[in-house]
Symmetry: C2
Subunit: 357 residues, 2 copies
Amino acid sequence: MQHKIYFTPGPSQIFYTVEDHLKSALNEDVMCISHRSANFQAIFAHARAELSKLLNLPEGYDIYFTSSANEVWERIIQNLVEKQSHHFVNGSFSKKFHQFALDYQKSSTATKVEDGGDFKDLSVPDEAELISVTLNETSIGYTFPIEKIKELRAQNPDKLIALDAVSAFPAIPFDLNLVDTAYFSVQKCFGLPAGLGVWIVNQKCHATATNLEAKGHITGSYHSLAQLKAQGDKYQTPETPNILGIYLLGKVAEDMNRRTARQIQNDTSYKAALLYQAISESNSLEPFVESKECRSKTVVVAKVNDGNEAILKSMTEKGWIVGKGYGSYKGDHIRIANFPVHSKEQIEQMADFLTKQ
Amino acid sequence: MQHKIYFTPGPSQIFYTVEDHLKSALNEDVMCISHRSANFQAIFAHARAELSKLLNLPEGYDIYFTSSANEVWERIIQNLVEKQSHHFVNGSFSKKFHQFALDYQKSSTATKVEDGGDFKDLSVPDEAELISVTLNETSIGYTFPIEKIKELRAQNPDKLIALDAVSAFPAIPFDLNLVDTAYFSVQKCFGLPAGLGVWIVNQKCHATATNLEAKGHITGSYHSLAQLKAQGDKYQTPETPNILGIYLLGKVAEDMNRRTARQIQNDTSYKAALLYQAISESNSLEPFVESKECRSKTVVVAKVNDGNEAILKSMTEKGWIVGKGYGSYKGDHIRIANFPVHSKEQIEQMADFLTKQ
């Protein structure tokens, strides 16, 4: 049987260098070393440095490691929101983050639009301390237009803005100065095994967390922002972390820097254009997101006339594992990941196939 | 250079089958598959089944996966303690858990004894809802006697008992019926890469968490016990978890079952006896924990007259990586892990070396 290619929107195909890096990890005893050793500090520092370069991290922004993007949602609510956050909800993941805030008994609000539709109203309640924006809704392939994030930034100079960059970074270019905090998990565009989240915060976030602590709020224990910073300043973590995950992230970020973020982003645009072109030429497919500027470049979602069963079967026969629709769209959508690991050749073959459907 | 052997008390030497299982994981696309796929459910079910067998899990006890034992501390406080827990503190890790409870603004109390000393007073405040016991204090090599846990159980039929089994399971035999919840991380006795915690709970824990939720308490979001159960009942997890970690845990637990828990536990006792015998014969070493029944079999801690610098240097020259003392004992103790991966031959050589010190 031919080997499979995973076009699933995360976990997805692992980056092509991961296997070699796993071998190096074994040779370098990465799975044995103490998280309080100088060896670990070097791994932490390397991952931070390579990510900083790849994401063009602005001065004053820090990088911390958590176990998932889900965990970052929780830590943001605990550390950066006293009473109210406001969430732009256009899909299942942005909705979940809003739910996390409600679970933590915040009076959080949301602007919801129909799935696949665009946000017309960018107003935010005065009381909201933090605004949540999802750059790339993995569930339905919706991209929040960067121009609108700029507008939110300009209109809300005193509020924090949190960016969900899951399945976007580093394939989608973004100026981190536009937000105060951003986060992602590594099993999407980085092509790494799941079990690691990356949390980026600026000094305004640190000040907010310090202020909440001073007011007597519970900010979490080992993964409060203060604890992450106290240890992170020494290139360490509060707990024994996913050391292998941090090592692999540093290595793959280094590989990506060698290719350059710009090249990865240009390739992503080119491959996405091929896929959407093919979908528009197909007789049985159409893009789920109407507005062209809101169509995700990394998670291409198409509606399938008469359901996705037949097309998924044909794809599986070719060795292509493609995502079903998310949630209620399970039987009606296909979701095709267009991540840095997916080569132009693979995407050209996929586009060729889609055109004929 | 000869290859190193890690006798550090976690992370430690990886179990000798891990490298092969990593290769299988690559062949089986474990790092690519969706956490909502049947493949993942099979991995989850396998890990649970093998662990259940290895730990002799009683009827009605469930196993869930978190990112670390630190996370389990937090989830226990959120889900199982309304106002007060009581902590038996004899070392840094039991102390940390007490601190987590205080961070979450509980009125938690503690019985503290001098490091290395034994608990004489087992009384627990009436108001405490949960009692925390650390079976094996990794920081100072102290083992909480099982007879005393039985006494606590008999005297406190209405309270929950939480067992910290980090660096104990599966090398130390334990009847889980004696406690309501237990937890460990995998980078100790299981010899696995760090980044995964295992949380065992019984039905009384589920009932407690349900009751706290009904009362309006915050029980966490994605990793509330209710969410872990809702997904766990389907062999799934709320978030995209450390799939590779769960896979490796299932495989290594299977390997250990082949050897049998009893054999592993017998070997652990034999090897521990060798190490303590050697320490008592040495001129410059003595066991840190006075009471013989309280000396840990898996983390053997010795005081070194005139400091540990010279002995650690000699050990490093032999390729043996041994733990320094924890915290304030950094320069005075050595900590030698005696985990299932450490063979009788390796421990015999270590004992031989220690005798001559």
